[in-house]
Every structure is written in structure tokens, then in C-alpha cells.
């Protein structure tokens, strides 16, 4: 019933797209995290900057990623002459950088909301205590608030990483041949849609399962001091996966 030779034939071809999937996801998650942290911190004071950040977040959370990738890719194409003038066209001529930009902006929007929430959840008393001890504002942030906030944000951020991995499957609409793009190519020559999608699904599932495990291990490690006995470790991620976009 199951045609194993066909799977043996397509799986290596699909896996060939994995490096591109990982590059897209890795770059956008890394860049997105840095930007998200900046945006989350920038929202804490003033009026104008928080309003701008909220607008940015609302737009990127309120529209489908598919539309975002398309608009950024073909939209940038319309501003070719302006970009050539400032020397950025070389970068945005490449589909890879356009897709990375779209994915990064998207994950920045979601990530900044996750981090904003977790920073706000750090008890005010800790900040007061830090100030009473004579720590500067930067020291308080660096030594007290961020370590606690990041640990708190970890499960949600783990989900965000998984959503980004899944998001890279849309990059094929801007000609990038990552796993899903290759899958569609194989279908167009073999017309065996189900087998090919099952194969691709297995690759994503393995990848995401690995990430869930890694984030879970990290979380367990970071919450050693909270454990009352040996049994509560190991599944904090699962308990928090409900926190989605």
C-alpha cells in the first residue's frame, strides 16, 4: 500500500530544501528577537513611540503573512530606482532578503507583544528593591528584569519559533525553493500530492519536535530553583503552548 521506494526517492530531495528553511527561520527569529526586545522596551515610556510601535504591531498581527510576503517582495520591486540611489537594491533584488525581511518584521510584531507582557509581569517590588540597593536603571534591567522576563517569555517564544518555521513554507511564493517549494515542484512532475505532502509534513514535524524539546530542556534548566520536587520538570512547554498568536 505505502510506496516506500517513492518516499526514499523524494525525501532526500525534500531535505535538500531544509538548509534554506533553516536559514530563513534562523535569521528572521534572531533578528526579530533583537528588534522585538527593542520595541518592547521602547514602549515603556513616552507617548509617541509607543503609539507608533502599537500601530506597527497591529498591522503585522492583523494581516496574513502571505499578504505581507507578497506586498514586501513586489512592493519593494516598485521602488527600485529609489533603492538603487541609496545602494540597497542589491540586497532587495534577492528574494531571500525580501522573504527574510517579511518574516523578520512579522516575528518582531508578535515577539514584541510576548516580551512586553513578560516584562510587565516582573513584580514592581523587585525593581524597587534593586533601586534601594543602588543599582542603576540599566543594571536593574540587565540584571533583574530581563533575566526574569526572558524566562517567563520562553514558552511563548518557543511557539513563536515554531510558527516562524511554519511561516517559511510561504517563501515559495517569492520563488524560494525551500521544503514546501520543492514539494510543490515534485508534485507538478509526479502528481502524487498526498505522498509528497506527507513527506514534507514529516520533515517539519521532526524539526518542530526537536525545537519543542530544546526549548523545554532550556526552560527546565532555567526553572530549576522553582521546582518543588523531581517530577514537575520536563513539561513546562506543553503547559504553555496555548499562548499563540
Amino acid at each position: 500500500m505505502i510506496d516506500l521506494t517513492f518516499y526514499a526517492e523524494i525525501l532526500p530531495r525534500l531535505i535538500a530544501g531544509l538548509p534554506l528553511t533553516l536559514e530563513l527561520a534562523g535569521l528572521s527569529v534572531t533578528l526579530g528577537f533583537c528588534l522585538a526586545l527593542i520595541l518592547a522596551l521602547a514602549q515603556r515610556h513616552g507617548v509617541i513611540i509607543p503609539a507608533i510601535v502599537r500601530g506597527f504591531v497591529a498591522v503585522f498581527r492583523g494581516t496574513p503573512l502571505l499578504v505581507q510576503i507578497f506586498l514586501i517582495y513586489y512592493g519593494i520591486g516598485q521602488f527600485r530606482h529609489g533603492l538603487q540611489a541609496i545602494g540597497l537594491w542589491g540586497l532587495f533584488r534577492e528574494p531571500f532578503w525580501c522573504a527574510t525581511l517579511a518574516l523578520t518584521l512579522n516575528t518582531t510584531a508578535y515577539g514584541s507583544e510576548i516580551l512586553r507582557g513578560s516584562i510587565a509581569s516582573v513584580p514592581g517590588g523587585l525593581r524597587e528593591a534593586a533601586r534601594a540597593l543602588g543599582l542603576t536603571r540599566f543594571q536593574t534591567l540587565h540584571r533583574i528584569v530581563l533575566p526574569l522576563a526572558l524566562r517567563q517569555a520562553l514558552p511563548s517564544y518557543g511557539n513563536e519559533i515554531i510558527l516562524m518555521i511554519k511561516g517559511t513554507s510561504l517563501a515559495s511564493i517569492v520563488t524560494l525553493m525551500e521544503v514546501t517549494g520543492i514539494a510543490q515542484g515534485i508534485i507538478s512532475e509526479s502528481y502524487r500530492a498526498i505522498e509528497v505532502f506527507v513527506g514534507a509534513g514529516l520533515i517539519y514535524l521532526t524539526l518542530n519536535f526537536t525545537i519543542i524539546r530544546l526549548v523545554g530542556a532550556l526552560e527546565t534548566r532555567l526553572s530549576r530553583h522553582l521546582r518543588r520536587d523531581g517530577n514537575t520538570g520536563g513539561k513546562p512547554v506543553a503547559a504553555n503552548l496555548g499562548n499563540v498568536h
Binding site: G77, R80, Q184, G185, I187
Partner: protein
């Protein structure tokens, strides 16, 4: 719980559409097109399908005296959906190729529309071979080889856009894979946009589609260049796709297409829509 599942299945089955089947002549059929390939098939603002193939489909149905419903479906999904029975016939400017014949069947050819490159006028290829009127049938590869070699020379190292899952892509892969970078797009207008933006150096598509794009003012600096190609990987021209089991339907369609060619209907429609005659020669 079990009765709930059965009830749910009942609902699904009741709303599911049983599609015409097998050797008996059907009374009504569903024809699928892409709906994004002007002027062959496209959608108007009020949601109606229009274009050469829509007119032709209606004409064929009238000849066969059966009821037809025409729907639009993404290009990528056309053949898989035909196989699983979403509809009965594909009329979407689809070439009859050996590869497609492995999985579905086709009627006879109803149109011949060769493919060619489109490039900026001031590019190497544009300057050397603009509006080359030559025509090569790839069934005779030896004859086409010098022209292909010349194109390879002119396109070396360039990026060429093409719609994915097409015979045009097959052509590029077979003859140009070592010399150019191929980029696959879901639709024709997407590769046209990237051509205009300068992300790619050329596109390769059917001549009628290129003509429709080049007629737009934004594409004033672009031109069709080099000879047109058909035969070989392009198969036997454009035909209507049917499931292999639907032999009666295929025979009916073949008869209707023969009549439409004989009485000049296809010539008339192609002059109306693509301003050239795409009637098959044989």
C-alpha cells in the same frame, strides 16, 4: 457518538458533488480553468470567467448538447484536482505533454501557441534577436539546436523567470539548466512584475501571454526576442485534459473540437482574443 459521526458523514456526503464518471456519456460536466491567464482565461470584476477558452468551452458544450459549469482553480492544483474528481475537464491553456499523459488523458489539440523569451530591449538578447519571427518544432531537435545554442550564449549567467509546473519550465530545465538561473513563479503576472522590477533578466512564456503583457505601457522598454518553440517538451499543443477513464467524454470533446476547427470557430475566436490564428494545422 457513533450516530453523531454517521450523521456528520451524511451531511458531508449530501453536500459533496458526485462528478460524471467513466464510459457512459455524461449529461452535465464541470470544466476547470485557471482564470488568471488573460486573454485565454480570466475573471471579470463581476466574477464571471471570460476569455478565448471560456468562449470555446461554451461553444463545445453547445455542440455536445450537454450542460456545462465552468470554474476557476489554481494552476498548481488543476491536474491533482482532476484526478480526485473535483471536475471533469481542464481547459486552461495546458499543453499535451508526455509527462502529463502519464497521469491524465487529453483531447486532440485545439490550439497551438508557441513559447518565447521576453527581455528588455537594450539587453544582449533584445538587441540581437528582437522580434525574431522564426519558429522551431522541437521534435526536430537537430534543426533547433543552432538557435538554442545562440540563445544560451546570449542568456549565459542570466536569471530567467517562468511559471512553475509548466512545459515552459521543462523547456528551460532541459536546454538551459547549466547556463541560466531559473526562478519559478506561481502566476504569469508575478514573473512579469519581477521582469519590470529588474529582478530577473528575462521571462519565458507562451507568445500570446507575452503579447498581452508587452501591450501594457509599463512594458514599453521590453520586447519579445528569439524564435518561438513548440513540439518536443511542449508536446502536441494545447488540449483539454480529461481523466483516463472518461473515454466517452473524450470522444465527444474530440468530435466537437474537430467541428469547431472545421467551421472556423477557433480561428474566429483566436482573432478576437489573441489577434493571431492559433488554429492547429493538422
Amino acid at each position: 457518538m457513533k450516530s453523531l459521526v454517521l450523521a456528520a458523514l451524511g451531511v458531508v456526503l449530501a453536500t459533496a458533488v458526485p462528478v460524471a464518471h467513466a464510459a457512459d456519456a455524461p449529461k452535465s460536466i464541470t470544466i476547470a480553468t485557471e482564470g488568471a491567464y488573460a486573454p485565454w482565461n480570466f475573471v471579470t470584476p463581476d466574477g464571471k470567467l471570460d476569455g478565448l477558452e471560456i468562449d470555446l468551452a461554451n461553444d463545445l458544450c453547445a455542440r455536445m448538447k450537454i450542460e456545462c459549469k465552468i470554474i476557476a482553480q489554481n494552476w498548481d492544483g488543476l491536474i491533482p484536482s482532476l484526478q480526485v474528481g473535483k471536475f471533469d475537464v481542464i481547459m486552461a491553456s495546458m499543453f499535451i505533454t508526455d509527462k502529463r499523459l502519464e497521469v491524465i488523458d487529453f483531447t486532440r489539440t485545439y490550439a497551438v501557441d508557441p513559447s518565447a523569451f521576453s527581455v528588455p530591449k537594450d539587453s544582449d538578447l533584445g538587441k540581437a534577436m528582437a522580434n525574431d519571427a522564426e519558429q522551431f518544432n522541437l521534435n526536430d531537435e537537430a534543426k533547433a539546436k543552432p538557435a538554442i545554442d545562440k540563445l544560451r550564449e546570449l542568456l549565459k549567467g542570466k536569471v530567467v523567470g517562468v511559471q512553475s509546473a509548466t512545459a515552459n519550465l521543462e523547456f528551460l530545465k532541459k536546454y538551459f539548466a547549466d547556463d541560466i538561473e531559473i526562478r519559478e513563479y506561481k502566476t504569469v503576472e508575478e514573473h512579469d512584475l519581477d521582469l519590470a522590477a529588474g529582478r530577473i533578466d528575462a521571462v519565458f512564456a507562451q507568445k500570446t501571454a507575452l503579447a498581452a503583457t508587452l501591450a501594457k505601457p509599463e512594458f514599453a522598454d521590453f520586447t519579445e526576442a528569439g524564435p518561438g518553440f513548440d513540439g518536443g517538451v511542449f508536446g502536441r499543443g494545447t488540449g483539454a485534459g480529461v481523466r483516463k477513464a472518461d473515454t466517452a467524454l473524450k470522444d465527444m470533446l474530440n468530435k466537437a473540437i474537430d467541428e469547431a476547427i472545421a467551421d472556423g470557430t477557433i480561428k474566429k475566436l483566436s482573432e478576437k482574443w489573441v489577434h493571431s490564428d492559433v488554429t492547429p494545422k493538422s
